[in-house]
Symmetry: C2
Subunit: 352 residues, 2 copies
């Protein structure tokens, strides 16, 4: 039931990040702007079973680039609409509830908006945050969409076994850093690639990968992978596409698996890069599967059971790059595409 | 036990097709020659548990092209060796047996040689032919390797459901014609592509595909597929690769599956063609899996249970293109790569 009367009927200022119009390559800061003129009533409309929430943490994720393109006509994504606020997976606090499953003060994560307050009418995929003995921002990352993505991609798509050889591209990102740690916990040999010395150091020293390399310093990716995987690759967790995928295909082992999580190297291109070595899938009977975490929503409780104790014991660590204030959102998002972030990029909108 | 004495100790002439040396593109007839000087003793050597067989039918398959390339360094295939007889899956009759599982007169299919008689020392993957109320040549095709490939590729790799939209390239070939008929029996909508009017007519009239088209007459494959699949493709059975795969990727439905059986368009190329649209796998969460039938050997009895009654009732038909005589083998094999064969290409070496 919506609570009636009192302070919740206040109409307050509600800053929003507005998406201007469809982009063709990577987005620029100028493709978004901060609208400071909006207001919102802190109350769920009469008869609605939705929620009015205060947004706390907004994650920036590479795939958001695709939501800004008109050409992506797909049922996978609700794309962004020109001149509208952007909606994505965020951490928020319930200010008013018209839904019996949620009450004022509840913390939730799920699809809300890039704004200070959001009215959420579809609460179906909104999850209540039950475990608060971790940083709340984690529900934008390790315990939210990227974490679920790493979990379902690695455990469900890759069917990993102890001792297998695992390669992860964009390995210091929100998803990659976790996949690598999952793989290490299982007893795999893990190598990651990233785009700077700082990130390579992180992979080796903070995330305890067996090896890591800076792909920008490798003139021959096929040779680099052969060096790190003389026996070949059993599992490739794909975040970049293009030349890296081509090099990987020449280094896969028989019955190897490729989990296609993203292909960030392609999102900026007018003409997509050709991948030439697919025929090698046949010689090695490779299995390549693209996925999104929402296909595995039902596994979320199982994922938490696995990951929460590991976080508590310090066996899994997570690195965040937190930008402060909604106004810093566009720059933080755009920074992903030039690799500026180190770890999961999050925007702090408001303290709880 | 090897039977001793008598006519089996005769040494007879044994014509062989000899593979000259590694090729780079498609093989030419001149890459093989018929050696008429060889002889063989029609008896298993003392102490061996092998078989001496008379070869009856040799199948010609597109993947044999890859066995002729030095560059294919893989555990998938035993490649052909220069100046040696070629070995592949054939239908044969046991002339002498050193193995308790087989006796003189048994019909078998499995790996033997492109020659009149073969001594088979590894009988592990040799299957006894139990059902002889079908043409014996069928064990080179519908009941042999191509049939098992179609079965495991369609039922195991594609997880098909009634009513789904199925596309098959090189659809009139040894494997494609069967996949299409399996899909029709399951209640799928089936479209095939082939390279001539004659083959397109076969697909529609003999194999009862819903639609078929000549890819050589389609200037825009993406548009052609959109025309035949306005709702998109659920299952693509991939035999050709390259441009066709690129066009398919733009036409897949969400959670679509691609069984990668072969990529014949790539086998002739010095530089492999680029496939540009892999990023669309992500938007549609496409699953692409390469396979070989031998990964599914254990399903062979289940396959026979399904297919034999359908053959008996005329619900599945099979078209063969039979070349007569071992000496016609090289031309028959080479003809595959220019699309000369109509249906499964087989070489009749000897009548039973």
């Amino acid at each position: 039931m919506a609570s009636g009367g009192g302070e919740n009927e206040l109409e307050v200022s509600n800053k929003q990040v507005i998406f201007k119009n469809y982009v063709s390559g990577f987005p620029k800061e100028s493709d978004m702007y901060l609208n400071t003129n909006g207001t919102i009533k802190l109350k769920v409309p009469e008869g609605s079973n939705g929620l009015l929430v205060k947004n706390l943490y907004l994650p920036c994720d590479p795939y958001m680039c695709n939501l800004m393109k008109k050409s992506i006509n797909t049922k996978m994504f609700t794309i962004f609409f020109p001149s509208a606020n952007m909606t994505r997976f965020d951490v928020a606090k319930v200010v008013d509830s018209g839904n019996p499953k949620f009450k004022k003060g509840d913390l939730v994560w799920g699809k809300t908006g890039w704004e200070e307050y959001s009215l959420i009418t579809d609460v179906q995929n909104l999850l209540k945050i039950e475990h608060t003995d971790v940083p709340l921002s984690y529900y934008s990352g390790i315990l939210g969409m990227p974490g679920s993505t790493a979990y379902s991609g690695f455990y469900e798509v890759c069917s990993p076994k102890k001792g297998e050889y695992v390669f992860i591209s964009a390995a210091s990102g929100a998803v990659g850093q976790l996949v690598g740690q999952f793989a290490k916990l299982l007893g795999c040999y893990v190598v990651g690639s990233a785009g700077s010395k700082e990130k390579v150091d992180l992979l080796k020293n903070k995330f305890k990968f067996d090896e890591a390399f800076n792909y920008k310093e490798e003139p021959d990716l096929v040779a680099a992978l052969k060096r790190y995987f003389p026996e070949g690759i059993d599992i490739y967790f794909e975040n970049v596409g293009g030349k890296m995928l081509d090099a990987v295909l020449l280094n896969m082992r028989t019955h190897g698996r490729i989990a296609v999580c993203g292909m960030i190297s392609q999102y900026n291109l007018e003409k997509l890069e050709g991948v030439h070595n697919l025929v090698h899938m046949i010689y090695k009977r490779v299995h390549m599967k693209a996925f999104v975490f929402s296909d595995y929503y039902h596994l979320y409780p199982k994922f938490l059971d696995l990951v929460l104790p590991h976080i508590a014991e310090g066996k899994i660590v997570y690195l965040e790059d937190i930008a402060e204030g909604l106004e810093s959102g566009p720059a933080a998002l755009v920074g992903l595409f030039s690799g500026l972030n180190v770890g999961k990029q999050v925007v702090l909108v408001a303290q709880e």
